[in-house]
């Protein structure tokens, strides 16, 4: 019998009693911890942020209009639809699955919107509901096939890609392309609605206050429980950093048209998804299933429900993305959601830092990734390069992101960070 009840060292928090732990405290300690994590292969969003800086620098040198406020506003407007689809991709990737049908699902929902609203004249809310419902149904079918027959999601959703494209063409019927009237609410939302400057700053302030408040409350509770907590100085520094970052971005966008309503909606969805992933049982079970399905099952998690919920959410986000794309384009046609929509959404999630191997990633990777992809698109378009260059560059960036993902996975294994 060894030391059953070692006395607690009162000078240290409960979670830092072990003498093997290296202690860092204060602001400098936080910085040093960060450095250590990076060397251990826990790169977080550093590679993508560095990549974005390089991409922006190169395009700015090649075309001084690239980083203009006007162009960045366009960039955010282009990002909203694909970014929303990418949130769903992040979810399926966290499970270690894939969904190749998101482009088709978004195309189908565009088609339902255009046909229902313009051709048949149904009320807009009903049509929106029908479009989203189509997404939910597609996700249910995928989830059912995945859980009941164990078919790999790659194959199921590849079938879905074709089948749902067929449905999209069926819905459109003989009409090749349907224009949605410019004065309709949905197109106004997609093209014309921008947050007034005051409300965009209010939102930024609100976000920072909620962030800081949340961290302070957490720190106080940890301290009360005898656990180590971030000192108030570090929290204030982080909050100030966030305030400067968001405030500067908003200010710069406000020099031109400002923050578009679709982009704001996209960001809100990312934050909500992040909350559900990190702070709820459902989110924890998504990570657990992505890390080790068998362990999750033995822990009593209803694995099938997790799979189905994630496939449904992914298709739902895809349908919503389709609506946003149709609203921005003010039309829907047989190629809506086709072309590079699929690849862009998947590439965005991976480039943003969500692992293809499951169990690792964050909703915010949808934002970072989609901004990288759209920067490349927009930069190359400004240079009047042909679309083949864009495909090649986007493909190369995706491969680079996957290589970084695999490399950091190996480094993590070596450094014992899972």
């Amino acid at each position: 019998m060894s030391d059953t009840t070692r006395p607690l060292d009162q000078s240290r928090p409960v979670d830092q009693q072990d003498e093997r732990l290296v202690h860092h405290s204060g602001v400098r300690g936080a910085v040093r911890d960060l450095g250590q994590r990076m060397r251990g292969g826990d790169l977080g969003s550093l590679p993508v942020v560095l990549g974005l800086v390089v991409i922006w620098a190169v395009f700015q040198i090649l075309n001084p209009n690239f980083l203009s406020s006007t162009n960045l506003v366009n960039l955010t407007m282009q990002s909203a639809a694909v970014g929303t689809i990418a949130i769903g991709i992040v979810l399926v990737l966290l499970l270690g699955e894939i969904d190749l049908s998101v482009g088709s699902v978004s195309g189908l929902s565009s088609a339902i919107l255009a046909v229902g609203f313009v051709q048949l004249g149904f009320p807009l809310p009903l049509v929106l509901f029908a479009s989203l419902l189509a997404g939910v149904l597609a996700g249910l079918v995928f989830g059912f096939l995945r859980t009941q027959f164990g078919v790999p999601s790659f194959v199921i959703t590849l079938g879905g890609l074709l089948g749902i494209l067929g449905l999209q063409l069926f819905v459109l019927g003989k009409t090749k392309s349907i224009n949605i009237p410019f004065d309709s609410v949905i197109v106004q939302f997609g093209q014309q609605w921008f947050l007034p400057a005051w409300s965009s700053y209010t939102l930024v302030a609100l976000a920072v206050v909620v962030f800081a408040w949340n961290q302070l409350v957490q720190a106080r509770r940890r301290e009360a429980a005898g656990l180590s907590a971030s000192p108030a100085s570090v929290i204030m520094l982080r909050s100030a950093g966030l305030l400067v970052l968001l405030g500067a971005a908003t200010w710069y966008l406000n020099l031109s048209r400002g923050v578009g309503a679709p982009f704001a909606l996209f960001l809100v969805l990312v934050v909500i998804t992040h909350f559900f992933l990190t702070r709820t049982r459902w989110g924890r079970s998504v990570f657990a299933v992505g890390g080790n399905v068998e362990a999750a099952r033995r822990a009593g998690i209803r694995v099938n429900r997790v799979y189905i919920s994630v496939f449904v959410l992914c298709s739902l986000f895809a349908a919503l993305g389709g609506l946003m794309a149709a609203a921005r384009a003010a039309s829907a046609n047989s190629s809506s959601g086709g072309g590079d929509t699929n690849l862009n959404a998947i590439a965005a999630a991976v480039i943003g830092g969500t692992s293809l191997f499951g169990g690792r990633g964050s909703a915010f990777s949808a934002v970072l990734g989609v901004v990288v992809i759209m920067s490349i698109n927009s930069g190359l378009a400004l240079l009047f390069l042909e679309s083949y260059v864009q495909y090649i560059v986007t493909g190369a960036v995706l491969l680079l992101a996957v290589v970084i993902d695999s490399l950091s996975r190996r480094t993590r294994a070596a450094a014992g960070r899972g």
């Binding site: 009840t5 072990d18 940890r222 709820t280 990570f287 080790n292």
Partner: protein
């Protein structure tokens, strides 16, 4: 060491039989587990140890025989039923999620909530309390489980089984892949479980480990009981003889 007759009987198996096709994995096996007692189940490969564990864990239902829990006859058709009865099973392959930290693994599937959101502070605090009670030496509970040593991972797996406040803990080969010091760590932990008044079922190949920690040793051979010894009255030669079949201790043929 432990007087089983005065203790509360937790689990009682009578005549458990299980077939897989033409193979009779278990035929008429009996097993009793009392509170505050470590029962080791030993036997050669194919003796039916794992099958017995799976029946208790609700993975396979038995074909014949009765299980009573706390004196009440019961059935264990699913893993959830097993858990609800208060039986916690720690599998050989650990079943931890490498990408999650120690706290998340300990509370997986049983997370504490506060106003709908996860209560990380409470979970972390209780994790430390539990680990301290078990004298487990985990440096930090906020690192991914992948970075822990084999013994520490086994400790986390066993500690996790205690979160649901079970009455019986089944450990399937807990020391199989561990070094000397780590094995000692896990054996210490098993004694801690006994001190908490739990019934512990220990499946092991290692006679030395079994003799170090068990109160009673149940030998299975080819799916039948082949001896039920008190550790105090038995030598390792006698156990090995029972395992290999050199001595026949089965009650009836």
């Amino acid at each position: 060491m432990t007087n089983t007759t005065t203790r509360e009987q937790l689990l009682s198996l009578r005549g458990i039989t299980k077939r897989f096709g033409a193979v009779r994995a278990l035929s008429g096996v009996d097993l009793d587990v009392y509170a505050g007692e470590v029962v080791a189940i030993v036997g050669d490969n194919g003796a039916g140890k794992s099958t017995l564990v799976k029946i208790l864990a609700g993975v396979h239902p038995q074909d014949a025989g009765t299980i009573s829990f706390g004196g009440v006859p019961t059935a264990i058709p699913t893993p959830t039923d097993s858990r609800d009865l208060g039986i916690a099973t720690v599998y050989q392959d650990l079943s931890l999620c490498d990408n999650l930290d120690v706290v998340s693994n300990l509370w997986l599937g049983r997370e504490l909530r506060k106003g709908g959101a996860l209560d990380e502070v409470e979970m972390e605090m209780r994790s430390w309390t539990l680990l301290r009670e078990l004298s487990a030496r985990i440096p930090s509970v906020r690192i991914p489980v992948a970075s822990l040593s084999g013994g520490q991972r086994q400790t986390v797996a066993i500690a996790r089984s205690l979160i649901g406040e079970p009455n019986v803990v089944i450990l399937d080969e807990p020391t199989a892949a561990l070094g000397v010091a780590q094995t000692a760590e896990v054996l210490n932990l098993i004694e801690r479980l006994r001190e908490r008044g739990l019934g512990v079922i220990l499946i092991s190949h290692n006679i030395a480990d079994v003799q170090a920690v068990a109160d009673r040793i149940v030998v299975l051979r080819l799916g039948r009981n082949n001896g039920d010894f008190r550790v105090a009255d038995v030598t390792s030669e006698m156990i090995i003889a029972a395992i290999t079949g050199a001595s026949d201790n089965s009650r009836s043929a």
